[in-house]
């Protein structure tokens, strides 16, 4: 079989490619958001799309997150597959009423008459002194809403394949991108490889500790795993990729093998998605645990501005490595 040609895609280009390929294939797919047309969006994800698809399908919107999301819901209810870009995930708060009360519930409240195939893309993340309103991680606020799906890819391949599946999912998907990942690069075929929602990926195989990590923490966990390997600790890294629905089986299977688990995300540790994962693991794999489940996450503060403070707030490889060591103890 001839191998298809591959191209080096950045995470940013991978996101753009999923949208562009869907828009080429399907007139019902379009994108709207603030500054996404000529400007290409705050992170330049949509750069060049205006030229290809025109202002009708690459729609610059007023600064109206609530109406933008509401209009996305309405168009989706009529059978279109809108993509709404919310410039920073901090601004999801402005759209939250529409997401929580409408996007998530319309199907249920209508007794199954309606579908809301809307994708809400957003981005954020620390590491560049964005301050408290342009860098926090909010995925944990949405995973507890019945009716919403939540996706958070960590690589270009996952970003492209999962965004494609999100656009074609008949439910509202909140799709999180991380600002520090946009320049990650990976060889990808030109053809889209759709990745089903709700399937985790085993990023690294190991036998002693399972690290379940999302977003940038996947890469931090890989670095921590390399360091642990030097000391003879074999670390398995799993990226759930979709947080709602969560691939519980993949996580449990790994934990039953390693008997130790670390969960890691950049959002605050308290009440984070990691807490839910830890709860699931102790419920369903209690008798396989050989150590308390360790949680890695940001300190319980608004994201600070000063670079030193910001670094002290969010977790990186050192914290993941320390957690791995704690689970292994004095073995």
């Amino acid at each position: 079989m001839p191998t298809s040609t591959t191209t080096r895609f950045s995470y940013r280009e991978a996101v753009r490619d999923a949208m562009s390929q869907a828009m080429r294939r399907d007139a019902d797919v379009f994108i709207m958001g603030q500054d996404i047309a000529e400007h290409g969006g705050s992170q330049k994800v949509t750069l060049g799309m205006l030229e290809e698809f025109g202002p009708g399908r690459v729609r610059n919107s007023p600064i109206s997150e609530m109406a933008l999301t509401g209009a996305g819901i309405g168009a989706a209810m009529l059978g279109m597959r809108p993509i709404v870009e919310i410039m920073y995930e901090d601004f999801l708060t402005l759209a939250m009423e529409q997401l929580v009360n409408h996007a998530a519930k319309e199907r249920y409240m209508s007794g199954g008459q309606l579908k809301v195939p809307l994708t809400v893309r957003t981005q954020g993340g620390a590491g560049w002194s964005s301050g408290a309103q342009h860098g926090q991680q909010t995925e944990g606020w949405f995973v507890g809403v019945p009716g919403l799906k939540v996706v958070y890819p960590s690589t270009p391949r996952d970003a492209r394949g999962l965004l494609w599946s999100s656009i074609y999912d008949d439910n509202c998907v909140v799709f999180f991108e991380h600002v520090q990942l946009y320049n990650q690069r990976e060889e990808l075929p030109e053809e889209i490889e759709p990745i089903p929602l709700g399937k985790a990926r085993i990023v690294r195989i190991g036998t002693d500790v399972t690290v379940v990590a999302i977003g940038p923490l996947v890469h931090e966990a890989l670095a921590a795993a390399e360091q642990a390997e030097q000391e003879g600790i074999s670390v398995e890294v799993i990226d759930p990729r979709t947080l709602q629905p969560l691939d519980e089986e993949a996580i449990l299977e790994s934990v039953r093998k390693t008997s130790r688990c670390v969960v890691a995300h950049e959002a605050v540790r308290r009440m984070g998605i990691g807490a839910e994962m830890a709860a699931v693991i102790q419920e369903k794999a209690f008798d396989w645990l050989d150590a308390p489940i360790e949680r890695v996450g940001a300190r319980f503060t608004p994201l600070p501005f000063a670079p030193g403070l910001e670094q002290a707030s969010v977790p990186r490889r050192e914290q993941v490595y320390a957690a791995i060591k704690r689970t292994v103890g004095s073995r």
Partner: protein
């Protein structure tokens, strides 16, 4: 069942039919109040008594392919847009045969087949959805219009302003139909709006506005038809202000301590849209009584249907949280 069981939007001004339709809604609401007070209907209910002419006149002007969004005070809109009295009543009883299969309730009536995209119980919450439906029509070049019902209270919400702004900016085929019944629950217009003429809201966006006597069903019909023609032509949305009256408490059980009793009684005596039309048509008493009886029969049948309805099986609880 009689033919009245479904109100079929006529797209013609037929005052005789308007009267029948308003009577069905009035009797429906009165029966809902009784059944609620008797403990048969759970939750809480908001009645549209006094506002029947807005629902009937506006929906009569819509084409069957046009869509509406509604509010917590939703029964009249659902009935006027063509949902059967049986399906709406069964929904109020929480039955599987209800128009939302018992998942929605009084404040969440849906009938997508008949163009009712549902009612939002967050005040003004559906305005974005109506804007988005209009966006879909515009992008697909379909000659359809999305009409959003909302009250005067909603005009103070952020989403109202965002949606009006966006719809006018993008020249979307939408009609924003504001039912000014003068009360945002217990708060009078003067306490929640710095302007008494709500069409000034539309001026801020350069949006065309129309104003109509919401107690005159024929006038509502004509004004809505004009607004729809404007929106359908691609000239952009219309803000249609219907001045109406809430001739009932906010919800059943509300004691209206905030409302002057004399004003309330006077308004009920002078602003009843059904009485106004009856007078204009110079209908003989016997004929009117006959129409009332017919409407009562439709509603009694709906109540019986709802009572005999099926309670949703708890085993189906998780169905439709997600689309497959």
């Amino acid at each position: 069942m009689t033919e009245l069981d479904y109100i079929v939007p006529s797209q013609t001004a037929e005052p005789g039919r308007f009267l029948q339709q308003m009577l069905v809604i009035r009797k429906f609401e009165q029966q809902v109040e009784e059944r609620y007070r008797d403990g048969e209907i759970p939750g809480f209910v908001h009645l549209a008594i006094g506002q029947e002419a807005v629902a009937v006149g506006a929906c009569a002007a819509l084409s069957p392919r046009d869509v509406i969004t509604s509010t917590h005070r939703s029964h009249a809109h659902a009935l006027a847009k063509g949902s059967s009295a049986r399906a709406v009543m069964a929904e109020l009883y929480g039955k599987l045969e209800g128009c939302s299969r018992g998942r929605g309730g009084s404040m969440h009536l849906y009938d997508v087949e008949r163009g009712n995209l549902g009612s939002s119980a967050v005040v003004g919450g559906a305005l974005g959805i109506a804007t988005g439906a209009a966006l879909a029509f515009s992008m697909r070049s379909e000659p359809r219009v999305a009409l959003a019902f909302f009250g005067d209270g909603a005009t103070a919400s952020g989403l109202f302003h965002e949606s009006m702004n966006m719809a006018q900016l993008w020249r979307l085929p939408a009609v924003f139909l504001c039912e000014n019944n003068r009360w945002a629950e217990s708060t009078p217009l003067a306490q929640h709006s710095p302007i008494s003429d709500l069409t000034q809201r539309a001026q801020a966006f350069g949006m065309t506005s129309l104003e109509v006597d919401g107690q005159d069903v024929e006038a509502v019909y004509r004004a809505t038809a004009e607004a729809l023609a404007h929106a359908r032509s691609g000239a952009g949305p219309v803000f249609l202000l219907a001045e109406t009256y809430r001739l009932a408490p906010h919800n059943v059980g509300d004691q209206q301590e905030y409302r002057d009793k004399a004003e309330y009684e006077l308004t009920r005596a002078t602003e009843d849209p059904i009485e106004k039309l009856r007078e204009r048509l110079a209908l003989p008493d016997e004929r009117f009584a006959e129409l009332e009886r017919e409407a009562e029969l439709v509603v009694a049948d709906a109540v019986e249907f709802a009572r005999r309805g099926t309670d949703p099986d708890p085993a189906t609880l998780l169905e439709d949280v997600y689309a497959d």
